[in-house]
Symmetry: C2
């Protein structure tokens, strides 16, 4: 039995991974959750979760306590206390995300836990570059503090791998969407569907013409499970589907599904990356049999889930 410490364990991505484990790998993995909340915001329960700790990620005593009280094998770091739009208080961003991650690495070192999977961001790390497909080896130009902090964390992870024998797997995710998404600050597809269901206009920041990669959360869960199953190795991978859509295309898609929905354009924040595609050659070489859920199927599943889970 492998014990995973899931940081941000009640969040969108972690909840999906844990439910995936419940369905597909229940006898192989058990999870210890750390989250700022003491329980899931909507009461979603995952059977593989054995224990929950809640508190502030910056409080190193509670993180230390988790490692003292549990034999952790792998850390799955899905925790961010900011989103791109809220990260421009750069000092808060550094103090609430970077420094706690450095504390975590020091605690892992003390407890001889050396395997970590870090969820980085394919959108925020690379920065703007129209009509270019980003690969993991290129120079990056993050615009937001969110992206800069994620880059710094990536570099510390690689440094800990080289200097102290950590195995640090860095996954640069594109935009995941799907069930168990409750965040109103990040995740355009889910937010647009929710607004349509409530009869609110869909809000588009900027022209909406930039195209970004979207990936169904079940595909993300399956890929992360694949990485866990085959043993953590140091490296950086883009995790994306190749389904590249503009915000306008998505808004029109949602509007067509719900027929009456209004679309409203709002001035874009300069920190938002307007366009990106990710090269997934490296991921495809790692998992030869990789298939992605087609957009229409994923979209309909997301709509169905949202219909049953609207406030």
């Amino acid at each position: 039995m492998t014990t995973i410490l899931v940081l941000g364990g009640f969040g969108f991505i972690a909840t999906n991974i844990l439910r995936y484990i419940d369905r597909n790998a229940f006898h192989e993995y058990e999870a210890v959750i750390f989250d700022k909340f003491p329980h899931h915001i909507k009461g979603v329960a995952c059977q593989c979760v054995k224990r929950v700790y809640s508190g502030d990620f910056a409080d190193e005593l509670i993180i230390e306590k988790i490692f003292r009280e549990n034999k952790i094998d792998i850390v799955l770091h899905c925790l961010s206390n900011t989103v791109p739009a809220t990260s421009q208080n750069a000092r808060f961003d550094v103090e609430s995300n970077l420094i706690p991650t450095l504390n975590l690495l020091a605690i892992m070192e003390r407890h001889d836990v050396k395997d970590i999977v870090y969820l980085s961001s394919g959108g925020a790390i690379y920065g703007d570059a129209l009509q270019k497909i980003h690969n993991e080896e290129e120079a990056v130009y993050p615009k937001s503090s969110y992206g800069i902090v994620k880059l710094a964390i990536e570099k510390y992870l690689l440094s800990f791998s080289e200097l102290y024998g950590f195995r640090t797997l860095i996954l640069r995710l594109s935009n995941p969407f799907g069930p168990y998404h409750y965040n109103d600050r990040q995740g355009f597809i889910n937010i647009a569907i929710r607004r349509a269901l409530k009869g609110l206009p869909i809000e588009i920041w900027g022209s909406g013409e930039g195209k970004k990669d979207y990936i169904y959360i079940d595909d993300v869960s399956r890929i992360i499970h694949g990485f866990l199953d085959s043993g953590i190795e140091t490296g950086v991978y883009n995790v994306a589907s190749g389904i590249v859509l503009s915000v306008n295309q998505i808004a029109n898609h949602v509007a067509a599904e719900f027929q009456t929905t209004e679309i409203k354009h709002i001035d874009a924040s300069k920190i938002d990356v307007q366009s990106f595609q990710l090269d997934i050659t490296k991921l495809q070489n790692r998992f030869k049999d990789l298939v992605f859920t087609d957009f229409q199927t994923a979209f309909i599943k997301t709509v169905e889930w949202q219909k049953n889970n609207i406030d």
Copy 2:
């Protein structure tokens, strides 16, 4: 008259730049110094210095006070509270260098000061890569926290340039050497000469075979003055001489100069970058008439200065 706020104003590099201004641009520039010390450690005085503030860089009230009490035109950021070998307390590194720089940028924004020159590191930023000449556009792999923090600061500077109209000039220096060097933790040429003068063995960390770029500090001062004089523009430049030497070559050179000196090899720290060369095409395109002091001349000048300034 242009007023420069020099952070780390009593350090090796800043002292040389200020003395260069004294000699060549006294009627154009005046300096306000911030340093952890209240006066130069050896009493070296520069005429262009109008005012000195001392304190902890992390104390934002004193930085705020400087901007309230002086009309600053340009910030010259030469301050680091760590060197590569001492930066592995990563949290201290972040808290004493990155966060204070973020505070500084916020204060500059409030006082509408938008020009900043940042001294980054050509050695620590790129990381190890034998037989490769690094250029400013390539992906970087810093090994030490020192390099990671410098990279994060670079990215915040570029972000402030894009989002808030700052002009942020980033200079990735190779290894400077020459007069007014008093640091025993960084700067192999000066340290080796000092040890030879004291009859101590020269210490070499690792094999000493890796080759690095060394630049005479007067050349650095002239280049930085050139940048100041032509107006700050956002960009990243390698600042190096193309004089590439192994530590063994330097040690032998020093030993020959002082005849009797012993050379001692010590196990290398894994965080030290063993080799690097910097591509200076971009710098040469910026300053068409760039000439560098030849190594032998620079070396002899450094020896002469050290002879007159030994403890």
